[in-house]
């Protein structure tokens, strides 16, 4: 992204009505465009002196090329760091190849330690991408997360976009296989908690919060209407605006269906109250979608028009053949089973996650 584009993007970001703005830098590797990243942070802070919004920053980085001055900048400006960790060295290295030779895991570890030394142990969160490689190995991945001191893990199935779609034969798996692996991994994590090590599984927290509490989870990827474009937006490096990253990735492979406009040519109003986004919102309310409208799990679930479009070439989607539906249906089913079973020690672990406390504090 050029500086001039960044300026236009900030114009757009600050013309929204939301009292909270979170700017997340994604890429590629956003730290490779360091001057513009710095510019955006500083200029957003300058604008916010007048706008008085809650302003947060997150950078999604593989940590590999991180330099000490960058870390200092992140620390000074309270920029959160989100990174990727796919498991122990051999799995991480198999997934994440360096353009040069050598181990990406080693570079990751060295810089993780450095960043934590500078910014504190909770400064980095990590995201896991699960491929066929791990599916039988999730316990080892969890061990690695625990070993590195992460407070939890998000067990997400692979999404069929971009590179993952291209390599689906090598890395993909049927959703039922994921669900079975997920259940085993969840049991493993629960046992970990019962043995005294507090460690969360974030998808579980999300679904259980919906089932057992009056609060929303704030998770954009599973809400109704879909969160894309109304809870967040993606600004591509060329100024194009997308409701979600998956829509942007689709554009990279030639289909600009989800492009809402461009910061150079379109106004805030035409992008965020334009017919395209209106249609996306209108067509992503579970109460009205075929299959969802009559589903008992509606209130715990959400819609994903982009995923529908990828799977069925229609944002409405086709529930009977939808992997998105299959996955959430099976998992919500599993959580309702657990809630119904109501085993005191397991519920204690769940409530400790949902209320951000240790399971001893939840005990009575």
């Amino acid at each position: 992204m050029r500086r001039e584009t960044a300026q236009k993007v900030l114009d757009m970001v600050f013309s929204g009505p939301s009292p909270c703005i979170k700017i997340e830098f994604q890429g590629g590797e956003p730290t490779l465009n360091w001057p513009v990243l710095q510019y955006i942070v500083r200029d957003a802070q300058r604008r916010n002196k007048a706008a008085h919004k809650q302003l947060d920053f997150v950078v999604c980085t593989n940590l590999i090329r991180l330099q000490p001055p960058m870390v200092e900048f992140f620390k000074d400006n309270q920029v959160g760091i989100s990174t990727s960790l796919d498991g122990p060295a051999e799995i991480h290295d198999r997934h994440r190849l360096l353009r040069t030779t050598g181990s990406s895991y080693r570079a990751f570890r060295t810089n993780l330690d450095y960043v934590r030394g500078q910014m504190g142990n909770d400064s980095c969160s990590a995201l896991l991408t699960i491929t066929k490689d791990h599916l039988g190995n999730l316990n080892r991945v969890i061990d690695e997360y625990v070993h590195l001191g992460f407070p939890g893990i998000f067990l997400r199935s692979l999404n069929p976009y971009g590179m993952a779609a291209a390599h689906w034969d090598q890395i993909g798996y049927p959703i039922e296989a994921f669900v079975e692996a997920y259940k085993d991994a969840l049991r493993y994590i629960i046992d970990l908690n019962l043995s005294g090590h507090r460690f969360e599984e974030y998808y579980a927290v999300l679904i259980l919060t919906r089932i057992l509490t009056p609060f929303s989870s704030g998770f954009v990827d599973l809400q109704s209407p879909a969160g894309g474009g109304i809870s967040g937006a993606i600004y591509d490096f060329n100024g194009e605006v997308y409701p979600c990253d998956e829509g942007r990735m689709l554009a990279k492979t030639g289909d600009k269906f989800f492009c809402l406009g461009n910061v150079y040519t379109d106004s805030y109003e035409s992008i965020f109250s334009g017919e395209k986004l209106r249609r996306l919102v209108r067509t992503s309310c579970v109460e009205t979608l075929p299959g969802c409208a009559t589903c008992a799990y509606q209130m715990f679930c959400g819609a994903d028009p982009t995923r529908n479009y990828v799977e069925s070439h229609d944002i409405v989607g086709h529930r009977p053949t939808s992997n998105f539906c299959r996955k959430h249906y099976l998992l919500i089913d599993h959580f309702l089973d657990l809630v119904h079973e109501n085993r005191p020690e397991i519920m204690r672990v769940f409530w400790s996650w949902m209320t951000g406390r240790s399971s001893n504090e939840v005990r009575l």
């Binding site: 509490t213 204690r348 209320t355 009575l364």
Partner: protein
């Protein structure tokens, strides 16, 4: 609070003053001298004199109540506030060094709760005047907490606002509990008036009788009351006010405590505290005892479930007015010293109990207690 009796001398009107055992020049002009014997010579003339001495000579016109039993006179401590009346009654209005002093706003109420310990009646007094006088007299004391109640205090909205304002100014670090049924605060503007005073140590303690609208209305004997209290809680939450929900437990709601806990969590997750209260068996509760009485030991399982339910969900909760011998040990940490010190007592059966120092005790005002009270020996 406590009332003492004696023989009035020179007392033509009510006098409210601060108890002092020695009337010295620097004790101030508000002092009511408490002295077992006739003071030999007074360096300064007190507002009034309370004494056990039988004779009233040489009072030099000072209003006095004489011949008070010396054991009751000893109950009056330096710094207490008392009112003395021409009929010889002495009423204790404020206890020095107590965190459970009560300011009454009115005797009237817009509910007629089936378990009310203080049935409403017409006001015969200017409570604002009395309360302001009390607060003025104790303004130099370190007061950690006090309670504003009635009747229904919000029926005297102007006076209530005034009092909360005085608390904010003169007692900036005192926790103030306002007991209310919430009916008046269904009106957002009324709630806003209170909120705008900006007393950040104010907690609204709102009564909830049931999670079922009809049941709540029946218990409070006020049609539509449930909807009003829900509205009040939402108004106050919107105004970022600190809220407590109070549930008096009796036969009509005892079986639904877990359901009430879930109702509170689902609908009022913003409340700072929920208190489950053993009923005080006096007033209307005593009159309606047949209909209301359930031995607390019978609802302990439901109470335990309700407490666990809220605790698990990270909502602060407590049991009020229940002695430790009735509470399962894991719940003891949820039972604070909840009965006002002037109302708290122990029964003869308690005499050999080793837990008395940490026990909330029982209501001295209750006319009927659980038959399951027993001393704890280890």
């Amino acid at each position: 609070m406590r009332t003492l009796r004696g023989v009035p001398c020179n007392t033509r009107e009510r006098i409210i003053g601060r108890v002092s055992k020695r009337c010295l020049p620097w004790t101030g002009s508000d002092c009511i001298l408490v002295s077992p014997q006739h003071p030999s010579h007074l360096l300064r003339k007190p507002l009034a004199l309370l004494t056990s001495a039988p004779q009233g000579d040489d009072l030099r016109g000072v209003p006095a109540i004489i011949g008070i039993e010396s054991s009751s006179l000893e109950l009056l401590k330096e710094g207490d506030v008392v009112a003395i009346y021409p009929d010889g009654n002495v009423e204790q209005l404020w206890l020095a060094n107590s965190d459970s002093n009560v300011l009454f706003m009115t005797h009237t109420c817009n509910c007629h709760c089936i378990m009310c310990p203080q049935p409403s009646r017409r006001d015969d007094d200017d409570f604002l005047l009395i309360n302001r006088r009390i607060l003025h007299l104790v303004r130099k004391q370190r007061v950690r907490g006090l309670c504003i109640t009635g009747g229904e205090p919000t029926l005297r909205m102007d006076a209530l606002c005034e009092l909360i304002r005085v608390c904010r100014t003169d007692f900036p670090s005192t926790c103030v509990n306002l007991l209310t049924n919430g009916k008046i605060l269904r009106d957002f503007d009324c709630a806003k008036r209170l909120a705008l005073i900006g007393n950040h140590n104010l907690t609204y303690c709102v009564s909830l009788a049931s999670d079922i609208p009809d049941e709540h209305d029946r218990i409070m004997d006020s049609k539509g009351c449930f909807n009003e209290v829900v509205r009040a809680l939402q108004n106050l939450a919107l105004l970022s006010q600190r809220l407590e929900i109070r549930i008096v437990i009796h036969k009509l709601n005892a079986t639904r405590l877990p359901q009430m806990a879930e109702f509170i969590y689902r609908n009022f997750p913003f409340v700072a505290h929920t208190a489950w209260m053993v009923m005080e068996t006096t007033g209307l509760a005593w009159q309606n005892l047949q209909q209301l009485w359930v031995d607390p030991s019978e609802y302990v399982p439901q109470l335990r479930e309700a407490i666990a339910h809220l605790h698990r969900r990270n909502l602060d909760t407590s049991i009020y007015n229940m002695p430790l011998c009735m509470i399962p040990e894991p719940l003891w940490s949820f039972a604070p010293d909840s009965i006002s010190d002037w109302k708290k007592t122990f029964l003869p059966v308690c005499s050999s109990c080793i837990k008395i120092p940490s026990c909330p005790g029982v209501f001295a005002t209750s006319k009927f207690h659980s038959t399951h009270l027993h001393p704890i020996s280890s």
